[in-house]
């Protein structure tokens, strides 16, 4: 599946290729360069600066933030919890999202669009409002408990709880899994499955050997898009979990704008280390899962 012509191109063709490459790169690179890289550099500078007693960043070089970050055992629980919850949510989203995307691409073309939009429409209401709707559903006198009582069961304390946080996070992140999966399943050639079955492979074998590897890029992209915001969020865990435990997002939000005094250098250092680790993981993950066929 080589995407790059391996033969040497004649000079004039190479020139057009270069020109179109520049055309493709310029808008995005320029935009990201100015409005992302430059601001990010400011954060890098912050992380080596010093904090004043009132929480103002002082331009004095120091490695303290990184030192504190390493030594601060107080933060470890939040790191571990974020990792665990992030993985749980990603796994659940994949388990729900994969069959759903499969169902979507198997629908007739006219219905596909509708199904796709149906996934997205709930997300065009405000995020907080959706989360509050879950609070209503899960609350003590909410719909689910009323149903339970009507069916003769005892009321359950559904929220605030860790389970409610999981529900809220899966709900909020499902489209991030479905969209890339859908895109990659839409390109999947289903005749390969027929071929597999002609050769006597079972459904499970066909799925594991043919479909899953070929749609892995979508699955990987989806997992990344789900995992990262989950780890960095703080609103869902506050609202549905009762603000009782920290995730990485809560920690960052507090360091930047809730602590007295706030500590931007420490927050910046934490954010950068977190980003660096994630970027490495993501890159390695993408390389090993999607480019081995090169």
């Amino acid at each position: 599946m080589s995407m790059v012509p391996s033969v040497e191109l004649p000079p004039d063709q190479r020139q057009t290729r270069t020109r179109s490459l520049v055309g493709l790169l310029t808008p995005g690179v320029l935009w990201l360069g100015v409005f992302f890289v430059l601001p990010l550099l400011i954060v890098v500078v912050y992380s080596f600066a010093t904090n004043s007693p009132t929480g103002k960043v002082i331009w004095e070089f120091s490695l303290d933030s990184y030192r504190v970050l390493w030594g601060k055992e107080l933060f470890y629980n939040a790191y571990i919890r974020s990792l665990v919850i992030g993985l749980e949510v990603t796994l659940i989203c994949a388990l729900i999202g994969y069959p759903l995307s499969l169902h979507m691409v198997q629908a007739p073309p006219a219905r596909r669009n509708v199904l796709l939009f149906l996934i997205l429409i709930p997300f065009w209401t405000n995020f907080l409002v959706r989360t509050y709707a879950w609070m209503l559903l899960l609350s003590n006198n909410g719909l689910i408990n009323s149903l339970l009582v009507a069916l003769g069961f005892a009321k359950q304390l559904l929220y605030p709880s860790e389970g409610a946080v999981l529900v809220g996070l899966v709900y909020g992140n499902l489209p991030f899994m479905v969209l890339p999966l859908y895109a990659s399943l839409a390109r999947f050639d289903f005749t390969l499955m027929e071929a597999g079955s002609d050769l006597g492979a079972t459904v499970v074998q066909r799925f594991l050997r043919i479909m899953l590897p070929l749609t892995a890029p979508g699955l990987v992209a989806g997992s990344v898009l789900v995992f990262i915001p989950t780890v960095g969020q703080f609103v869902v865990s506050d609202l549905l979990g009762g603000a009782k435990v920290d995730m990485l997002g809560n920690l960052l939000q507090r360091l930047f704008t809730r602590s007295n005094p706030p500590n931007w250098p420490l927050g910046s250092a934490l954010a950068l280390v977190f980003m660096a680790l994630l970027t490495i993981v993501v890159l390695v993950y993408f390389r090993t899962t999607t480019e081995e066929d090169r």
Partner: protein, 283 residues
């Protein structure tokens, strides 16, 4: 992929148990997705001021909303920001995806890493970085030209594009993987110029990815609170900020009402364009 791709929309048509199970699964997932939304719509019509019980039908919350200048301007501003930033980020993101998947060039690995950064950066960090960046560069601009710039709706749009590009790129790249370049080569062999090849061959094949990316960008922008809060200037009200403030005090049926309206407007737009598209197809 050894075979030439078949037409894309011919999945095997066997109403097997598997297919039924898939439908069942999809059905229950849609119930999961819509349960809170339905509840929210229902409670926008309740007389109960807590908005948690059904105590009778009323349209009061809608009347109130339409008289609420602040909320209405916030909703319009938010739609505007989402629309503009979606168009811009979809264009930039799709082009970048093409460059990344189709070309080898120096700095490609670096760009690859850079493209994941806006996804992995925690929102609060990006928000404060942009705040610092805008005030810093506006300061320089003022000292050079004497003109004072202020953050306004455009700084929000610019920021939204900056984080959306990467999301679009990821989704479009997923749809480019496994793309059979020989199709394009065949088109070129048949005498199509690169532009024609792009519009007639490449784009139609990657369009599910492009649409997915665009929808993602639109959704992200509609919902973004933190980055909007820190990059907006005085006097520009945005829906997530307004809702955040009000919800903190008390969630009321008015909030449900504005959500219902946003929902209906989005759905109308979708169905209207579906309708227009069908008419165009018939011609």
């Amino acid at each position: 992929m050894i075979n030439a791709p078949r037409p894309l929309h011919t999945p095997p048509r066997q109403a097997s148990i598997g297919t039924r199970l898939l439908s069942l699964h999809a059905g229950s997932t849609y119930v999961f997705l819509y349960a809170p939304i339905v509840l929210l719509v229902i409670f926008s019509f309740t007389k109960d001021t807590f908005g948690v019980r059904w105590t009778g039908f009323t349209l009061d919350w809608y009347t109130k909303l339409f008289n609420d200048q602040r909320m209405m301007s916030a909703a319009l501003n938010t739609l505007w920001v989402a629309a503009v930033s979606t168009v811009l980020s979809t264009i930039c993101g799709t082009l970048l995806a093409l460059a990344m998947e189709r070309y080898r060039f120096r700095g490609r690995d670096g760009l690859d890493a850079l493209l994941y950064m806006p996804i992995v950066i925690p929102e609060i960090v990006m928000a404060l970085a942009l705040l610092a960046f805008f005030s810093f560069s506006f300061g320089i601009f003022e000292s050079l030209t004497g003109i004072t710039l202020r953050m306004n709706i455009w700084t929000v749009i610019v920021s939204h594009v900056a984080f959306s590009i990467s999301f679009v790129t990821v989704v479009v790249r997923a749809s480019l993987k496994g793309f059979d370049v020989r199709l394009e080569e065949a088109a070129a062999d048949l005498g199509a110029d690169p532009r024609t090849t792009f519009w007639r061959i490449t784009l139609p094949l990657i369009i599910p990815g492009v649409i997915g990316g665009a929808l993602l960008a639109f959704t992200l922008s509609l919902d973004d609170f933190i980055i909007s809060f820190f990059t907006v200037g005085p006097g520009t009200n945005l829906l997530p900020i307004e809702v955040y403030g009000r919800v903190k005090r008390a969630i009321t049926p008015s909030i449900n009402a504005i959500s219902t309206i946003m929902l209906v407007v989005s759905m109308l737009l979708v169905f209207l364009s579906q309708f227009m598209q069908r008419r165009a197809d018939e011609r």
